[in-house]
C-alpha cells in the first residue's frame, strides 16, 4: 500500500507551520498563499483543520488537462509538469475537492506533489495532525466538520 497524507483534525492547533513548510519547500519563501495545504477554522476559530489534495484515484485534474500536463509521480502524487502547463485553469474547476490552484505569478496550476515522497507538512506538524502513513485515503475532515457544524444551530442567535 502506498503512503498517503493522513489528517487528524482533532490534533490541529491552527499554528500554520504546515503552510509555512509547504510554501518554503515549493517556492523557497514562507508564504502561505503559495502553500497547497490550507488550514481552516471551524467552530468560529476554536478548532482548525488542514486540508489538501487527496491524491484520488479518479485524478480529475489529470484527466481534465488538455495537454497532459499532470502526471503521476513515483510517490503516487498527481503532479503538474510546469513546462507543459499552459495555465488554462481547467483543472481548478475539474477537481471536485477544490485542491488544485492557479498561481498568478507563474501562470501555472499548482498542487500537492507530496514533496517527492517526503511531505514537508507532515514533518513540520508539531502535533502529528498530519502524518504520512500507509493507509487508504479517506474523508479525513468530514466528521470533524459536521460535528463542529453550523454554530448557528446550537441555540444562539446572531
Amino acid at each position: 500500500m502506498s503512503k498517503v497524507l493522513q489528517i487528524i483534525p482533532e490534533q490541529c492547533t491552527g499554528c500554520m507551520r504546515c503552510e509555512m513548510a509547504c510554501s518554503y519547500m515549493q517556492t523557497g519563501l514562507y508564504q502561505p498563499a503559495k502553500s497547497v495545504i490550507r488550514v481552516s477554522p471551524f467552530e468560529r476559530h476554536t478548532s482548525y483543520s488542514p486540508y489538501t489534495c487527496f491524491q484520488c484515484e479518479e485524478a480529475w485534474c489529470l484527466a481534465a488537462c488538455p495537454v497532459e500536463a499532470i502526471t503521476i509521480s513515483p510517490a503516487g502524487a498527481k503532479v503538474v509538469l510546469e513546462d507543459q502547463c499552459v495555465g488554462c485553469k481547467l483543472c481548478t474547476i475539474a477537481c471536485p475537492y477544490g485542491t488544485i490552484f492557479y498561481d498568478t505569478d507563474t501562470h501555472k496550476a499548482f498542487k500537492c506533489n507530496l514533496c517527492g515522497g517526503s511531505p514537508a507538512c507532515a514533518e513540520a506538524c508539531p502535533t502529528a495532525a498530519i502524518q504520512y502513513v500507509e493507509a487508504e485515503v479517506q474523508d479525513w475532515q468530514g466528521e470533524f466538520a459536521a460535528e463542529r457544524g453550523n454554530v448557528h444551530l446550537v441555540g444562539f442567535s446572531t
Partner: protein
Amino acid sequence: MAKKRHVIVGGGTAGLNAITTIREYDKGESEVVLVAGEWPYSRMVLPYYLGHSISESHVFTATEPRMVDLGVQFARGETVPPPASQAAGDLPQLVSQFVPRSATALDTKNNKLTLDDGQVLDYDDLLIATGSSATRPPVPGADGANIYNLWTLDDARGVLSQIKDGMDVAMIGAGFISFTILNGVLSHGVKLSIIEIMPQILPRMVDKEGATLVEDWLTQRGVNLLTNTSVQSIEDVDGRKKLVMSDGSELTVDLVIMGTGIRTNLGWLEGSGVEIDQGVLVDDHMRSNVPNVYAAGDVAQGAEIITGNREVHAIEPTAMEHGRVVGANMVGRDIAYRGSLLMNILDVIELNIASFGDWTSDSGDVSVLMVPRDNVYRKLIWDGDRITGAIIMGPSRALWATNDVGMFKGIIQSRVHLGEWKQYLHENLRDIKKPFVASHITRDMLHVKTLDHPTVPSREVVAVAGS
C-alpha cells in the same frame, strides 16, 4: 481471425481520448483508424499560442512516434497507391503515416464510411467525433481579407501573421470563445473593440449582474465595448476594415476576429440513419440509435448530469469524459456515463470567471454576493437544499476569490443535500469550505470513477507493438 476495427472520425479531444482509452484497455489488440482533417491538436490551448506564451508545437496532442506507439492508422492517401498485387477495393487501405481526410457519408446498414477522396472504409464500430465549426454571420464583407475566426490552428496562424502592436482590432461576438482569446489578442498591444448583438457580454456564461462587473473591468482597462450593436456590413477602405453598425455608427479597424458562434458538424451524416437533433443523440454508453455507431464531444447530444436531459455541451471537459467513456465501451466494457456537467472557466485580464451547472435558471431561489468595489460576484442557484448552478467571479490575484472554486463542482456534481448549511451559505457566500467539508462530499466523491479503474496518465498508454 481478423482484428476488430474501430474507426474514429475526428481527432479532437473526444477522438484522442477515445483512442488512448481503447489502448489503455486492449493494448493493441484492435485496429484503430483515425479519420481527421488536421493532425490532432488541442483547440482549448490555441489562445496561449495566439498570446505567444506557448510555441506552436505545444498545441499538438500527439507526436508521430506516439501515434505509432498507439498503433493508430490512417486511410491511405491518393499518393500512396495500393500494392500492384491487390485488386481495387481490396484491403488494406491503411497506412501509418498521417493523411488528412474527412468523412463524407456513412452507411450504417453496411458498416461503410465514405471519405472525401472516394475511398470506402469498412468498420466494426465507428465513433463520430467530428465536433463543431465556427460560423460567420451573413454580413456583407464578412468573408473578406483580414477577417478571421479563431477556431482552428490555421485561424491562429492567420491572426498571428497579421496582428501588430498598435493596430485597431475588432472582435465580433462577446461570447465564451471570444473571451478565451481576449488576453492573447491584447498581449500584442492592440486597441480592442468588442461588438456584441445582445445587451450584455458573455450572454451564455454569466447573468446580467455578473456581466456588468466584467464590462466595467474591461472598460477600465481600455477595452471598447459595444453591446446591443450589430454589424451591418464590413467594407475595405484604404487597406483597413470599416464596420458599419445597425445604428449607422462606424468603426474602422485593421483586423477583425469573428466569434459569433459554432455549428455542430452533422451535415455529412445525412442519409446515414443515425438519429440527430442538435447533435447525434446518444445513450449513457455514448451509443447512437445504431448499436455499433457511437458519438462523443461537441457533435454528441448526451445526458446532462442533473436533469438527464440530452444536450450538446460543446466544452472541453465533456469531450474528454465522452471520449474516455466511449473508448471503454468500444472495447466491450460496460461503462455508464454519469452525465455531463456544464462548466467553464475564464481569465479575462486577471478577472477569474467560473460558471457551473444550471446557472441560467431564474427559479428565484438564489443566493447572491455582489461587491463591485472588490470585483467580486457570486451567485448560487438552489433547488431545495441542493445547489444546481453557480457563478463565481473575482480577481485572479485575490486568493479567496478563486480558491476552493472546484468545491462548487463537487457540490453540484454530488447533488448533496446541504440542509442547514443552505442558510449559512446564503449569508456567507465566500465560505464554501465549511459546508463542503461538513457535508461529507469527499467521502462520497472518493468512490466516484468515470471508468472502472484508477485513471492512467495517457502518456503512459501504449499499444503492444506488432500485435
